[in-house]
């Protein structure tokens, strides 16, 4: 029905428009006329309306219409172009916020890792610190404990570490064995923020579980390290960082020649031990910690590790082991301490003096400085109360005979400790660990780590040929030293330290000359014996061969020697500076020993 209606409507529309064929139009007219007159009348009206509408007047567009249209089109086109110029919307993961969030996440993870590793380190110190605190208490209970503190001793705590004393303080003591009063040049600014870290380092407790875990790690590390192949020594880099050999091969030769005479039995021996630990200082550090922790004589044998806790703590060990506290306590003032130190050819007393001072109130300051002493070396310009602190340096140098000889050669720059630490703390190219070990402990280090050289002092006074096992030469050499300091004829033979002042250079040059002279005299009787008694390798090499050695003579690989252990039983403490993460040595520099042969 509807369809018919629509068809009819369509046909009527077409009829009105004249679009209907004539026959259909005729039929439609008949239909409309016969069936629906109203509709027929409506169609007639529609036809009329159609013509009326068609004849409505035409209207013209406004004159400005085209201009308006073109203006609108251009405006729109420009806007469209601008929209096209707008960079497309980035996906959410490319937005700045997403990138920032990603970076933040990465940084958070990195920070977490760093914190975790740091916490582990600090835990590793807990036992050490605990023992150290015990030592403090022991000393604090000593009624004579305060005697060492003079009026200037109140400032001793502001010194970061005794091993970092500048050259002036050392010179002061060397030149004034009677007890000089070096000036304090406090660099408090460099020690800012020490307290918190120091507290962390010193305030920990021993945790059995952590210790067990640490031991496991150490054992694992030891296994790994034992399995590691020997890597070439990091000579060049070590030398660049202050562990330079003697200024010339000739000096180095003379140093070697003189070496046996420079070691005094019963005194600390300063040895630079260049080791490699695959660039992971934590392994060696943990090893050393654990090794020391295992030591039964804990309280007095705690050894300082790391840059922050270095010589000062080590000196405490000296104090405990050598039992020289009483002599130090007798010191009434720094001058008196200085006298004692100057008179102490072994230098242990000086160390003890410092140690004692540390135990008498300066510890906290020291600890703060330790903690913040990332620039440890630069921090020590404070020589006030330096009888002790200067003494600790002297203690280190005593083995060279400097004190005994009046310190004439121990001028500025004779030690490079501060320079070394400064470099290491600023460049982080090397990771020095200055500790004091007994020789048997040193032997453990050399057993478990690839040790490339043992040198005397920062000036890299090379003692090579340590590859010899079961050699009596070393023992003889050590024993041969005994007379040097005892008779006061020991002499500094360090080469000039890089970066030292002209005055220091001059003084050192003078010292070198004098020491060479003395050394030659002493060697006349001792070197020959040492060379003759060497079984598998010479202690020293042919003078001509050494004379031709380059200035950058390599430091030879050192294997643990039985003599070390044997010597350790008799000798006590060895200060060791261990450098890690050093590059491989060039092949051309591999064997000074070979050249010697």
């Amino acid at each position: 029905m509807n369809q018919n209606r629509e068809d009819l409507e369509a046909r009527i529309a077409a009829f009105i428009d004249g679009e209907l064929p004539p026959d259909e139009a005729a039929r439609l007219e008949v239909y409309l006329a016969n069936t629906d007159q109203t509709l027929a009348d409506q169609v007639i009206g529609m036809i009329s309306d159609k013509y009326a509408v068609r004849h409505l007047p035409k209207v013209s567009s406004p004159e400005d219409l085209s201009g308006r249209i073109m203006e609108a089109v251009e405006r729109t086109s420009l806007l469209h172009e601008v929209e096209n110029l707008t960079p497309p919307k980035k996906p959410w993961w490319q937005t700045r916020s997403a990138l920032a969030a990603g970076l933040l996440l990465i940084l958070s993870g990195f920070t977490y890792v760093v914190i975790q590793s740091t916490v582990r380190d600090e835990n590793g110190f807990h036992n050490f610190v605990e023992g150290r605190n015990g030592a403090k208490e022991q000393i604090a209970r000593d009624p004579g404990g305060g005697e060492l503190l003079g009026e200037k001793d109140t400032r001793k705590g502001s010194i970061a570490s005794g091993d970092l004393l500048d050259s002036e303080s050392r010179d002061g003591l060397a030149a004034k064995p009677g007890g000089a009063e070096p000036k304090l040049k406090s660099e408090a600014g460099k020690h800012a923020g020490v307290a918190s870290k120091g507290d962390n380092l010193m305030g920990g407790e021993s945790h059995g579980a952590e210790l067990a875990q640490l031991r496991e790690e150490v054992a694992l590390n030891e296994q790994v390290l034992r399995s590691q192949a020997v890597v070439q020594e990091p000579v060049e880099k070590a030398l660049k960082n202050g562990f330079a050999p003697a200024s010339t091969p000739q000096v180095a030769l003379e140093n070697v020649k003189a070496a046996p005479t420079k070691f005094v039995s019963g005194t600390p021996v300063l040895i630079n031990l260049v080791a490699r630990d695959d660039g992971d200082p934590q392994r060696l550090r943990s090893f050393l910690q654990e090794m020391i922790r295992r030591d039964d004589a804990a309280a007095t044998r705690q050894v300082a590790l790391g840059n922050q806790l270095t010589l000062n703590n080590a000196l405490q060990q000296n104090a405990g082991s050598y039992g020289v506290q009483r002599s130090a306590r007798r010191a009434q003032n720094p001058q008196e301490q200085g006298k004692q130190i100057a008179q102490n050819s072994g230098g242990a007393l000086a160390a003890n003096a410092l140690d004692y001072n540390l135990y008498n109130g300066a510890n906290k300051d020291f600890e703060r400085q330790y903690a913040s002493n990332t620039t440890a070396s630069a921090s020590i310009n404070d020589n006030s109360g330096s009888g002790a602190r200067g003494g600790d340096q002297k203690a280190l140098e005593a083995q060279t005979g400097a004190n005994a000889s009046g310190g004439s050669g121990n001028k500025q720059g004779s030690l490079q400790n501060e320079g070394d630490f400064s470099r290491n703390n600023t460049t982080n190219t090397l990771n020095p660990y200055r500790i004091i070990l007994r020789a048997d402990q040193l032997a453990q280090v050399t057993t478990n780590f690839e040790v490339y050289s043992i040198t005397r002092g920062p000036s890299a006074y090379v003692i090579d040929n340590f590859t010899t096992r079961n050699s009596t030469a070393r023992r003889d050499r050590y024993e041969g030293n005994s007379g040097a300091n005892a008779d006061g004829k020991g002499k500094i033979i360090d080469a000039p330290a890089p970066g030292t002042s002209a005055k220091g250079e001059q003084a050192r040059a003078e010292a070198d000359k004098e020491s060479e002279k003395i050394a030659r005299e002493q060697l006349e009787g001792t070197r020959k014996k040492a060379l003759d008694t060497a079984t598998t390798a010479p202690v020293t090499v042919a003078p001509q061969a050494l004379a031709s050695a380059p200035a950058t003579a390599p430091l030879n690989k050192v294997s643990p020697a039985a003599e070390d252990v044997a010597h350790a039983a008799k000798e006590q403490w060895v200060e060791v500076i261990i450098l890690m993460d050093a590059p491989a040595v060039p092949a051309a520099n591999t064997s000074m020993q070979e050249r010697g042969k």
Binding site: D17, V53, E74
Partner: protein, 219 residues
Amino acid sequence: MPTDAPEPFSMQDHQTLAQLRRGNHAAIEQLVQRYQDRLFSTVFRLVGHPDDAADLVQETFVKAIQNISRFEGKSSLYTWLFRIAVNLSISHRRAAVYRQTFTLDGDATKEENASVNQQAASLRRELSQTTEPDPAETAEQHLEHERIIAALARLDPDFRAVIVLRDIEDCDYEKIAAILEIPVGTVKSRLFRARAALRELLTRQPRQANGTAGNHTVD
């Protein structure tokens, strides 16, 4: 379905379209010049107001240029432009009715009448500018035109569109179907109903021998 027989796409349309797609300014201007009057006339009949018509024509061209890339060429440019214009006009009319319906003050009838009167007034102004100087005949024609225009103004936009396209623009069924996008049969039936509605409006709005359109209201 939209169209039964799409209008063929001429060669001229091809050239124009190619130029338009390249952003040829001259082509755009040519397109405007070619179709603006016819579009304006149609749109004016659909919306009943010259200003609205001009705006809608302008919008028609803008939309056409903006969417020229979407033009597939299934119909002529003229048909495409008219489709845009008619759709815009219908939307405009429906929006106007919507606004009138929901005006808060006054009833819908008065609003609607006012709109019609406004359109009539516009037409009078238009006619006054274009009529021949024959006062008697011109006056009667004017009244008749006003009556028809007023009736157209009251038609449903869809009805109005088919009447304007068919009776004023003389478009055939196919083109109307293409413009309105409805089948040709629907165009015919819708045209019949639109004419019937117009007839009814004109029947209810008797001719007046005298009087002005300005006083005339459609009711």
